[in-house]
């Protein structure tokens, strides 16, 4: 391993460790969230309020030393509230662009399904293009650019669920879930998370992060793993419980995420474990369950697919 690689790995280890101190008992989700960012993908965190979604996003920004902004999505949010607006400056006699909160390296879109589809699509467009157009002028968003969106489960009242085509813009969707008893105890008795957040140190710089992202793309992927990904994708298309399986873009996302996770885990190549670990968060929100299996949660469907495909 080169010295460069060694420092890279050390950086990542430190990041994982720091995040683990703040978000307790969510090792797997932290790993996946980091992998998602390494794979240059946007992240959707879906769970009930109060489970640490916001904390996770904020701590990610902190630890990776990214400029952070937060947009609270509400039903009266307008696209201009996200991308910014041109304001007339009396002094200069010209219109001046006031950049919106989307002009940050890490954007937390809190409760994204509370806003109207119009506001949602303004964000989703920015995610896709990595640029926004205001008053006919195209403005590039900073680099790296991540969106961490949080969302309440769609069956809550007063929400606008993201359409399937837009769910596709997120590389991963994570669920946090309740912490276990011991961790919850520590949350109750320990320091305030927000105070801890301010005390966090950055372990890397945006420039290093870009390098890490490049390195993650170069992780060896054997033919056997490509076969495995293809077999999994085929299974999603052929399974009777799934109406719409993974698209080729979904398969590509799976490969990218698996590479990033393997990089994070210091594997010499992508292992079947890496593919299996990223499969539910990558595939879960892209599958459309068949109506008969409607009661089945996406994660269960994904597990079912994993259990029925042989590893080559």
């Amino acid at each position: 391993m080169s010295t460069e690689a060694v420092t890279q790995q050390a950086t990542l280890d430190a990041a994982v460790q720091q995040l683990g101190n703040i978000v307790l008992g969510k090792q797997a989700q932290i790993e996946l969230a980091l992998a998602c960012l390494l794979a240059r993908g946007h992240l959707l965190i879906e769970d009930l309020p109060g489970l640490g979604k916001t904390i996770l996003a904020q701590s990610l920004a902190r630890v990776l030393d990214l400029s952070f902004s937060r947009i609270q999505f509400t039903s009266d949010l307008l696209p201009a509230d996200i991308v910014g607006v041109s304001v007339f400056n009396k002094g200069s006699g010209e219109f001046e662009f006031q950049p919106g909160p989307v002009f940050a390296q890490l954007v937390l879109a809190d409760e994204v399904n509370r806003a109207t589809p119009k506001a949602q699509s303004a964000l989703l467009e920015a995610m896709e293009e990595q640029q926004v157009s205001v008053d006919g002028k195209t403005r590039t968003l900073p680099e790296p650019f991540f969106v961490v969106a949080t969302q309440n489960p769609a069956d809550q009242i007063g929400t606008f669920p993201l359409p399937e085509s837009q769910m596709d813009r997120f590389l991963m969707r994570l669920e946090l879930g309740y912490p276990n008893a011991a961790d919850e105890r520590e949350i109750i008795t320990g320091d305030d998370r927000r105070t801890m957040l301010t005390e966090m140190n950055a372990v890397t710089s945006p420039a290093t992060l870009l390098e890490l992202q490049r390195a993650a793309r170069r992780v060896h992927m054997s033919d056997a793993i490509v076969d495995y990904i293809q077999a999994l994708v085929r299974q999603t298309r052929e399974s009777a419980e799934i109406e719409v399986g993974l698209s080729p873009r979904g398969a590509q996302a799976l490969a990218l995420a698996a590479r990033a996770l393997a990089f994070l885990r210091k594997h010499p190549g992508v292992f079947p474990d890496d593919v299996q670990a990223v499969f539910p968060p990558v595939a879960g929100h892209r599958l459309k369950p068949a109506s008969a299996a409607n009661r089945r949660k996406p994660n269960e469907l994904c597990q079912h697919v994993l259990d029925s495909v042989a590893i080559p």
């Binding site: 060896h220 054997s222 056997a224 793993i225 594997h267 010499p268 190549g269 992508v270 292992f271 079947p272 474990d273 299996q276 994993l306 259990d307 029925s308 495909v309 042989a310 590893i311």
Partner: protein, 652 residues
Amino acid sequence: MKLAKPRRSDGSLLSSLPWTLAALAFALLPHLRYLPFWIGASFLACAGWRMLIERRRMALPPTWLRATLALGGFLGVLGTYQMISGVGPGSALLAIMASLKLLETRQRRDQFVLLFIAIFLVMSALLREQYLWSLPYLVAALVLTMTAWLRMSGDPGESTRASFAIGTRLVAYAVPLAAVMWVFFPRISVPFWAVPIDTGSGTTGLSNHMSPGDISSLSQSGAVAFRVRFEDRVPAPRERYWRAMVLYNFDGRNWSGNEPLLSQARNLQIDVGGEPLRYEMILEPNRQHWVPALELVQGWELSNTVMGRTFELTRVYPIDQRISFTMTSYPTYRIEPELSMSVQGWYLRFPHEQNPQTSTLALAMFRQAGSPERYVDAVLSYFHEQDFYYSLQPPALGSNPVDRFLFDTRKGFCEHFASAFTLMMRAAGVPARVVLGYQGGEVNPLGGYMIVRQSDAHAWSEVWFQGRGWIRVDPTAAVAPERIELGYTDSLLDGAATAWGGGTPSEFLHRIRLSLDAMNARWNDWVLGYGPDRQTSVMEMLGMVNPGWRKMMLTLVTLVVTLTLIVSALLMWRYRPPRPDRARILYRRFTKRVGIEPALGETPRNYANRAQQVSALSATAIHATTDAYLAARYGGDAAAMLRLEKSLKTLR
């Protein structure tokens, strides 16, 4: 009790049924010309009905109705053909079967039957006719049937294009086998088995009698009678008389000859002179015994063929397939210079009570002429100078046809003139007879051969003179010399040109026809003409000593087996399972050693965790082996393979 309910279609065949129908319809196509109209119509009706059933999810017709229709179809075929064997009734029954099977087609299995019928229909089409387009048709029909087959039995998600591609590939795999079969399957000179060819459609070409009172349809047919390839020179149009048979009995209306004499006539008096013409004759099947030959033929390389008393060639077997052979003819000849009085009398007979005016005229003209030779000239100039017309649509002639023709209608074609001329000769005491055959022939500049069509069929006369023998006299030439000089086709073309005010369209069509015929001739020559002789020479060319059917059969079997093996080997190579990875083999050895099987979808890491619970092996060994395996197989790490091998050895 369960009530039998008519099962409704569930629409599941909707995707494959149109293909099956298309394959069937395509297979039926070449038969339609021959089959009675109602069979094609009932196929269309059944196909439409079945599609409607599938579309509207209707019930299939009940059993009693199907049984009635089946019985009706069978009786209809029986009524049309009076029999149920042979190509005609056979294909008619197949078509009926296919139509009715459609009405009980519920599932794939039934569609299989339909596609088998389609293949049978395609094959039986070859029993009817084998033209140039037969091969492309055959290939297209097979590809279509295979595509239908794949639409029906393949993956429902498979695209039509993919089915078509696979179907084409399957047919392509069969091509080498078919080629080997074609080259090596022993050809036998006598028909291998007698296929009852459609007798209802009648024989084409000449018949062995002629009644000029009836309108001939023969001269309208552009079908090829035979093709001729001359070795060095092509005879002039006026020499192109192809003798087929001789008619000498006249009953007042009809001229007739004998049934073909299948024995060699002995002591024929023939003197030949001049430059011989050698040529290859490629004779289309006419299902008759006679063999046309340029006058006068002296040599022919066709077995079982003899020259009869009247110098015509007959073959023991009717010509029911295309044959080619070489012949030698002499344009200058003298035949039978001496005839006994009794034989002369034979050629003078005619019913005296009929055609009285003709007899009177003949006697008067003979008296005026003085000698038989001058009498012949006199009669020819009579035809030439009086207003006789050559016409393909002559009026009907009634009970004294020659009288009516000579003195009343004066319109006719070769048969009328030959008949009238010969009768006038006989009435004046000059022995004469009618010769039937072909006159003319068109040289195809594209293929370097001559085409003689059924429309070139012709009748002329032969007159006998003491010491000179039989002399050909063509009375039609006296009336319509252009018919002889240009041939039928060209004289017709002239007419068309004047009628249309310009020769271009028909000339263009004619050129197309000629080039098509040149292609067809080559096809006949190389493909259909691949008979026993050519096969033997090809076998010798390929190095077979004394080719016989046993050797060919042996070669055929050997080649077929070899080819099948090669093709199977290639296919097996192409679709071979992926070569198991070395690391994978070692890992399988490891899991066997551990003693529990990895579950489906269980990663090596998870397996290792499970194994350490149950296996007697140490946890470190298990994890070391697993890590080595993961690195070797998924990490692209060559050194890890050694680690894996080593740790496997330590396990032992």
